[in-house]
């Protein structure tokens, strides 16, 4: 488990903390406020017949929580080497009017960083592959771009395609 720092007192309106994680060789950023915790992937129960991007369900302190693998809908390489100790980000998502917790399987959580809103550039409409609709912006960081993930949109879109029998 990694301790997630809360927002610092000063500049609280200006900066936003992001959890930085690696997924299929790309760097992603997600607002700290959306991440409940990060856990090591323990025992995963498979769900036969479930959607392909559902890795299974886990026991999160007595609650059954689904764990999803975004590399599949995003069409990213499933890198065996990087995934030697995969983590799960516990993310609060809002589907309809319901707040629920879902797990996102990631290769590695690398950091928690603060950025100004100015640092977040609008995402280009093209060029990010299948992840495009779910990237809200880009952050330039150490010669690389971090993709800011819009988790609500991920679950809304994938949830609806799921009920329609997709993915």
């Amino acid at each position: 488990m990694i301790e997630l720092p809360g927002e610092t007192e000063h500049e609280i309106e200006r900066t936003q903390s992001y959890v930085i994680f690696q997924l299929g060789g790309e760097g992603y950023a997600l607002e700290v406020s959306r991440v409940q915790e990060v856990i090591d992937l323990g025992h995963l129960t498979q769900v036969p017949g479930g959607p392909r991007w559902l890795k299974g369900v886990i026991n999160l302190r007595g609650h059954v929580v689904p764990v999803w693998d975004l590399r599949i809908p995003f069409d990213l390489a499933v890198d065996a080497k990087l995934g030697r100790s995969p983590c799960v980000l516990m993310v609060e998502t809002q589907l309809a009017n319901d707040i629920r917790v879902n797990g996102l399987l990631v290769d590695r959580v690398s950091d928690v960083l603060d950025f100004n809103p100015d640092d977040v550039q609008p995402a280009p409409p093209l060029g990010l592959g299948k992840a495009s609709p779910f990237v809200r912006g880009l952050i330039r960081h150490q010669e690389r771009f971090l993709l800011v993930l819009d988790v609500d949109r991920v679950f809304t879109a994938l949830g609806s395609s799921l009920t329609a029998g997709g993915i």
Binding site: H43, T45, Q46, V47, P48, G49, G50, P51, L54, V57, I58, N59, G62, H63, V64, V65, P66, L95, D98, R100, N102, F155, L158, G159, L162, T163
Partner: protein, 755 residues
């Protein structure tokens, strides 16, 4: 009082919803057995309560509209308006509007008062055939718009108290300053109108009544509406300014009302304050001056505990327009606290002794189950936790086998016992009587009967049977569907019934009761019964049963549960429209229940729901297939048999196995789940029943019995029918709960697709 705060509003909405239900029930009852005084009173009180409560929280428009309903009910009560189904329909429509309006207020988007409905209500109040029994000054005939509880009342309260105090001061102040409700009985005599009875009322409001936002002056005004009123109070009870708490009510009143109205009218006035006030009401007849005719309790030297007994039996008031009945106590009768002046102990003793008198050690009140409202989500959490506690305790029990002499074994046993008790109690909390479900059906049946021109009598049996709250909630639509079917299709028109030698009115019976560890609900009609000829023809045409199937084949009845199966060619407005019985059956299966049908031609049809007592916890079998563990609800398994590695026989292209000579279709869970690895040479077969037929589901291994606390799978997985949920096993891993019925259906569908 100004804008009531949110909390009061919320309380009002909750209360209003309940009252609206009892108002509806009451109206239905009223139509069925007109003239039943007790029911009429109850109904009236429901309307009255809504009105008063609405006014108290500042929802004047609601109160005003409700007043219309109340006024009509009052006319019925007073006998000036005869009940017919038009009147009831108007009142029901008004109630429906009120219900919508309450919800609209709850959503903070009030809706306007419906002109048409107001017109209909007003019409009921304007009956020209006037001059019936007691026309008191404030007879409701001309007051459809008036609100009795004067809400804004900003001026009146300010203006009135001083006047009253001034009036009575000289006499009252000479009296005792005791805090008892025993007030001086000022002699109002001499001013009474001859020939009119009068009531003497003492009112000692609870000290905190003002904090509840009650407008006592409104109550007094309401009394004034009943007839000429004289009011006295005891200003000496108010402490000096330094000692006074402005939010406390120190005063008590003695009131004399000249009125021939029945006593219940007075009780209604005090409805909202009866809970925390001491109120006595005595009726005096002017024909026998100074003799109390209704309740006479001679001032006794010592307070007799049996004071409760005397009732109207003594001397019915001569001039009462109705036989005076004991008020059906909304609160349990309670022995009057001894401190109450004996002469005052009317037949409505104080429901709760005021705090001041607590020291007088009132006899213990009759036991009433106290109820609190609980957030449903929290309750669900509690049930889940209690179940987990029981599971953890189970696991610890397993440790005993390691070394039975451990010192903690005794503690462990205690833990086991307590955790089970907690689990059972919390599960019990979820249970509600099916009455909550059944109570909405009289209205449904009435409306449907109206629409189809049928006469229907509804009987309800066993409504106290208790079921899981979630089940009760989710059964509403399926049951309404079946009731619609019964009214629309099954029951004949009165003419048809007469011709068939049946009573004119069709009968629908709702029955609830226990069958083993399950609850059965039955919807029975005495209509024409299932048309088996037609069902068989339809079934053969659709390839659901083989050609030449006999009409008596037991499979025939279950055909009606097949998707899209309907023997009706025309679609009626209510039933039909593509929603078939398969939807009902699926809903019941979703609750781990079953649906069966029994029918006799010409005699009627019964649909029988069989449901588990609770949804939160199941007894299950832990099985393994393809390296994964699953829980199968024990209720779905009829039998387990070993399955040896022989290849299954094929029957009509489907794999089957012979079980004691019977050929049973086989579903391989491994195949359905695309499990990897080779099938073990020996498997276990779980025998279940699907559409009346035995089906075997093959799993790799049986691991044992478990108790499982069911959790829902996430939103996105809800449409995965094959799993009814998930549970956490003793080792902390998650196991999915299989729904055998859905699995078999799924496998059937896949087979049909392949063929």
């Amino acid at each position: 009082m100004g804008v009531a705060d949110d909390r009061f509003l919320q309380m009002f909405f909750e209360e209003a919803r309940e009252l609206l239900l009892s108002l509806e029930e009451g109206l239905m009852e009223l139509e069925r057995r007109q003239g039943d005084r007790a029911h009429l009173d109850k109904t009236f009180r429901a309307a009255h309560s809504i009105k008063g409560a609405a006014a108290m929280v500042g929802l004047g428009a609601l109160a005003e509209f409700t007043h219309g309903i109340e006024a009509v009910l009052d006319r019925i009560r007073s006998g000036t308006l005869a009940v017919d189904s038009d009147v009831i329909s108007t009142l029901l429509d008004a109630r429906d509007h009120l219900s919508v309006a309450v919800e609209a207020e709850a959503a903070r988007s009030p809706i306007p008062s419906p002109v048409e409905l107001n017109r209909r209500l007003t019409a009921l109040l304007r009956d020209p055939a006037a001059a019936p029994p007691p026309p008191p000054p404030a007879a409701p005939a001309a007051t459809p718009k008036k609100i009795e509880l004067d809400l804004p009342a900003a001026e009146m309260p300010a203006a009135k108290p001083p006047r009253k105090k001034a009036e009575r001061k000289p006499r009252a102040s000479s009296r005792s300053k005791k805090q008892t409700p025993e007030l001086p009985l000022p002699d109002f005599g001499g001013t009474r109108s001859p020939g009119v009875d009068y009531y003497r009322v003492t009112l000692k409001p609870g000290a905190d009544i003002l904090k509840r936002g009650v407008n006592l002056l409104g109550v007094l005004d309401e009394l004034r509406d009943l007839g000429p009123t004289r009011i006295a109070t005891e200003p000496g009870l108010v402490p000096t300014l330094e000692e006074m708490d402005p939010e406390r009510c120190y005063l008590a009143w003695t009131i004399e009302v000249e009125s021939n109205e029945p006593r219940e009218r007075l009780d209604d006035v005090f409805l909202f304050i009866a809970d925390d006030s001491t109120i006595t009401i005595e009726r005096h007849s002017t024909s026998e001056p100074a003799v109390e005719t209704e309740v006479v309790i001679e001032p006794a030297p010592e307070p007799a505990p049996a004071k409760l007994a005397p009732t109207a039996a003594k001397t019915p008031p001569a001039a009462a327009p109705f036989p005076v009945e004991e008020k059906p106590a909304s609160k349990p009768p309670e022995i009057a606290p001894p401190a109450t002046a004996p002469a005052d102990s009317g037949k409505q003793p104080p429901p709760r002794p005021p705090v001041k008198q607590a020291a007088a050690s009132p006899p213990p009140p009759p036991k009433v189950p106290a109820r609190i409202r609980v957030d449903a989500g929290q309750l669900d959490d509690l049930v889940g936790l209690a179940g987990e506690l029981a599971v953890i305790s189970d696991n610890l029990q397993g440790l005993r086998e390691v070394d039975a002499n451990q010192p903690w074994v005794v503690t462990l046993e205690a833990l086991d016992r307590v955790s089970r008790l907690i689990r059972d109690t919390t599960l019990e909390l979820r249970m509600v009587p099916v009455e909550e479900l059944f109570s909405r059906f009289p209205r449904v049946v009435r409306d449907l009967a109206d629409r189809f021109g049928k006469e229907i009598e509804l009987r309800v049996i066993g409504q106290e049977t208790r079921l899981d709250r979630t089940i009760v909630e989710r059964l509403s639509d399926p049951m309404i569907h079946l009731i619609r079917n019964a009214v629309d299709h099954a029951l004949e028109t009165p003419e048809e019934r007469m011709a068939a030698g049946k009573p004119r009115a069709g009968r629908i019976t709702l029955w609830a009761g226990h069958e083993g560890d399950r609850v059965a609900l039955r919807i029975q009609d005495d209509g024409r019964g299932l048309d088996r000829d037609r069902i068989v023809k339809r079934g053969i045409a659709r390839g659901l049963v083989p050609v030449g199937t006999s009409v008596d084949d037991p499979r025939v009845d279950t055909l009606i549960f097949e998707p899209g199966f309907s023997t009706r060619d025309e679609v009626s407005e209510l039933s039909g429209r593509g929603v078939g019985l398969d939807v009902v059956r699926d809903a019941v299966r979703g609750l781990r229940g079953s649906l069966a049908v029994e029918s006799q031609p010409g005699k009627g049809t019964s649909f029988i729901f069989r449901l588990p007592l609770t949804l939160a916890l199941i007894d299950g079998l832990l099985v393994e297939t393809g390296g994964n563990r699953y829980v199968v609800p024990l209720a779905q398994v009829e039998e387990c048999v070993a399955l040896n590695g022989t290849n299954p026989a094929l029957s009509r292209g489907r794999p089957c196995v012979a079980i004691r000579g019977e050929l049973v279709p086989l579903v391989q869970l491994r195949e359905l789940f695309h499990a990897e690895g080779a099938r073990p040479s020996r498997q276990e077969l779980l025998l279940t029943r699907h559409a009346g037929q035995r089906v075997g589901v093959a799993v790799d291994r049986l691991l044992g019995r478990v108790q499982a606390v069911i959790q829902a799978l996430g939103e996105g997985l809800g449409n995965l029918n094959r799993f009814s949920g998930a549970t956490i096993l003793g080792d902390g891993s998650v196991s999915l709960i299989l729904d055998l019925a859905a699995l078999v259906a799924e496998s059937r569908a896949a087979d049909n697709h392949a063929h």
